[in-house]
C-alpha cells in the first residue's frame, strides 16, 4: 500500500504586502532547454 502522494509544488515566487502577508505566489519555473537534434523520417 502506498503513501498518499502530495501534489504540493515548491514555491518559486511570491508577492507580499507591506504587512508581510502573502498576497500571491506561484510554483517554480522550470526551464528545460532542448539539445535534441531530432530525427529525419
Amino acid at each position: 500500500m502506498g503513501e498518499p502522494t502530495s501534489e504540493e509544488q515548491p514555491v518559486g515566487w511570491q508577492v507580499t504586502g507591506p504587512d508581510g502577508n502573502v498576497v500571491a505566489s506561484g510554483p517554480q519555473t522550470v526551464l528545460e532547454a532542448s539539445a535534441d537534434a531530432g530525427e529525419e523520417t
Partner: protein, 147 residues
Amino acid sequence: MAAIDQTLVSLILNALTPTGAAGIPGTALGTPVGTTAMKLRLNSTASTATAAGTEIANGTGYAAGGWTSLGASTASSAGGAVGVPLTTQSATATAAWSIVSFDLTGNAAQRSWWGLFNAQPIVVGIGNTFQVTGGSGAAAGIQISLT
C-alpha cells in the same frame, strides 16, 4: 519551448565540434557571459530566444540590469538541473509592476537563459514586495536544465 538564447546555442555547438582552424574544436565558447557575478533581470514582457523582454522599472531592491547577489548555485552533476538563485531575491515596487519573464545574464547583460514565470503576469502593486525563492539545488525558484 526553448529556454536558452540562440547565440549561446551556437557557441556551445561551435565549442564542441571541429569548427576551429584545421578541424580543432572551436574556441567560441570562451567566457560568453563574462567572469563576474551574474544577474537576474525581470521583465514586463516576454523574453524570446532572440531578445530580452522589456525590463521593469527600478524599485527598492531592484535596479536596472537585475538582481546582482544571486549567490553561488549548486553546480550541475550527472546532467542534473541547476537551481537559481541560491539566495532569495526581493524587491519592493515603487511603481506598479507586471512581471512576465526573466533573463539570467552576465554582469554586462550578456544573455544566457530566459523564461516566463509560472502564472505570469504577476501583478505587484506599489509597496508590495516580489521575491524569487532562493535555495540549494531543487529548492530554488528557477530550475534550469539542458536535455
